[in-house]
Symmetry: C2
Subunit: 366 residues, 2 copies
């Protein structure tokens, strides 16, 4: 009999997938559905970077270098310098979205059966890449009462085994918006150095910090070999559909290994690289407007949620997500109810149930 | 100690990688190097499909559906119908190049330790995806004397074990140009049905057949559940840099599983999908000029190679590759010599040593 692979069977579907039919049914009933369930910015993609594609004189749209066009990588060096990250162009590998950077990192650094620690709630798709790579995700729980701050180092120590090979963080965080402080980043450094762990740092939301300073994993000193930075232009320039990211590391062995995976898939998308390169020439002031808009929205939603009886929403220091505790028993049921039975002036919202962002069964219900 | 994963260590580098420094050195010496080593068409990308991107009115470049835009998939149904392949839009999953279609297929259908049979010489990057998925490639050797025809069915039977899960073919073939006949495709069907194997069919060169008719794996009747078709617009429309392909299958379980991998990486490139959609509107006559040009080149190279003493080059029925037997001992040394020591009127050629396309050590030397 033809069979599906074990990893194919174990591969988790998108956690919001089961809600999609309810959203579609609501729309068919004429209800306006606001999609708050996905990190898809509605801020305009900078016209200048779209124009760069329109004006590009392309006779043959060729494969680029497997690591991405050298011209783009050299311009990214300037960009990273502007955010305090000193790297060379040959430490930057251009990927098809941040997704491919995550995948390359997992495949290069972890064996099947290896364990990675991720503070939960976490970006649900890490589960998918872990499943593809045969890696076991070990969650440690951050608490809504502290705004989802880094769990205490003792919690990491408790779950570290000889199979533990890395820690994955995302700051500012998807889905909590929490921004790790300098102290928290230093604590991560200490534990990675002590146990010789990779620190995978997803920095997709770098530009959107509202309270406190952004600290990159590559700002930390004395742990260059440990850091694998995963980046993307998706959120930075409202260009999710471009599918353009980067894996950045000073660990030459990791870089060279990732290059072999990159060569197998030939090259990252060509037109997107034109956008990415043009984006470096945007004025520094470009981020002022989107950041102000996201800040205004954050303040509105956090204030209004906390004004509701029984609701608690910590104030996210960055990104554009908010995670709230509601007076409910089951977030999946609640999100379905919002689509199926609730409307206000013929409108409703689609939310992502928090349960999909936890590795520990039973969490995220409220 | 921080370690690289086993699969990262085992991951094969690009087989022409070691020649790159010699090509660069030749260029530095002022020698013009013709790159015959890579399947990068120099035929112009159809201006109409580049214009479609230029004229697209995009305010926010959003994620597309994980399976690709429905409008594009529906247009591809027309395209596949025009080449005799009846499929529905929900049997087409848009991928980031043919590469991602190969990867999704491997991850969905094969477990680590499973075996896939591939007639050699074969597209070298299958090795990379097999390594990433932990799949063992079992080569069976096709012979240059028959123009690299399908090896006899007995050769397949000899290597089939309980671990064998699939056969991978590419017709017209990269790197041999061989075009499988109806009889050869029927023989593959027989063996796949007998042993319940997947037939992975890489049909990147469908439009470029010069002698005989193209037979798709999806032209075969009675084996819909077995076929996973891997496709790309890279060669069809000289659009390698777009990174746009497709996985096409009527096996719903394979499709649904591939969708979970597709959801994890969110979406295929957006601008490329605009190109792909516009390409369906090109007139049928579009292929006349590129096909005539490739045919002229084939005839020239095959004739001139065979006119050289000790050289034999079979006549490729399709694609745009040719594989020749030369009066040499070691194709790697010869290809290096062409770059390092040979020039004619200050010009030379970069070739891909055949050794890189064989799974059996020691083959491809001549």
């Amino acid at each position: 009999m033809l069979t599906i692979s074990n990893r194919g069977e174990q591969m988790p579907p998108s956690p919001i997938r089961k809600l999609v039919p309810y959203a579609e049914a609501a729309k068919k009933r004429g209800v306006k559905v606001y999609h708050l369930n996905i990190g898809q910015p509605d801020i305009e993609t900078p016209p200048a970077i779209m124009d760069a594609v329109r004006k590009a004189d392309i006779k043959v749209l060729e494969y680029s270098h497997s690591a991405g066009n050298e011209s783009y990588r050299r311009k990214l060096v300037q960009y990273y310098k502007s955010v305090g990250i000193p790297v060379n162009y040959d430490q930057i590998l251009i990927t098809t979205g941040g997704s491919e950077a995550i995948m390359f990192g997992f495949f290069c650094c972890f064996n099947p059966g290896d364990e990675v620690i991720i503070p939960e709630p976490f970006y649900a798709n890490y589960n998918g890449f872990a499943c593809a790579a045969g890696v076991k995700v070990v969650p440690i729980t951050s608490n809504i009462k502290t705004g989802f701050a880094l769990p205490p180092i003792e919690d990491f120590e408790k779950v570290i085994t000889p199979k533990t090979k890395g820690i994955i963080i995302c700051s500012p965080n998807n889905p909590t918006g929490y921004l790790y402080s300098k102290e928290e980043m230093e604590a991560l450094k200490t534990i990675c150095l002590k146990h010789d762990l990779y620190l995978f740092s997803d920095e997709a939301y770098r530009e959107f910090c509202y309270d406190g300073d952004y600290v990159s994993a590559l700002h930390l000193t004395g742990m260059d070999q440990h850091v694998v930075l995963m980046d993307t232009i998706s959120k930075r320039y409202s260009a999710c559909g471009a599918r353009l990211g980067a894996l950045v590391t000073k660990n030459k062995q990791v870089y060279d290994t990732a290059m072999k995976f990159a060569q197998a898939r030939l090259s990252p998308p060509g037109l997107a690289q034109i956008m990415g390169e043009a984006a470096i020439d945007l004025p520094e002031s470009y981020f002022d407007a989107p950041k102000a808009e996201y800040l205004k929205r954050r303040n509105t939603i956090v204030k209004r949620l906390n004004a509701m009886p029984g609701v608690f929403c910590p104030n996210p220091g960055g990104a554009f997500y908010a995670m709230a505790q509601l007076p409910i028993d089951d977030s999946d049921v609640f999100c379905q109810w919002l689509l199926e039975s609730f409307s206000y002036k013929n409108q409703t919202v689609m939310l992502a149930p928090a349960s999909g962002f936890y590795g520990t069964p039973g969490l995220g219900k409220k």
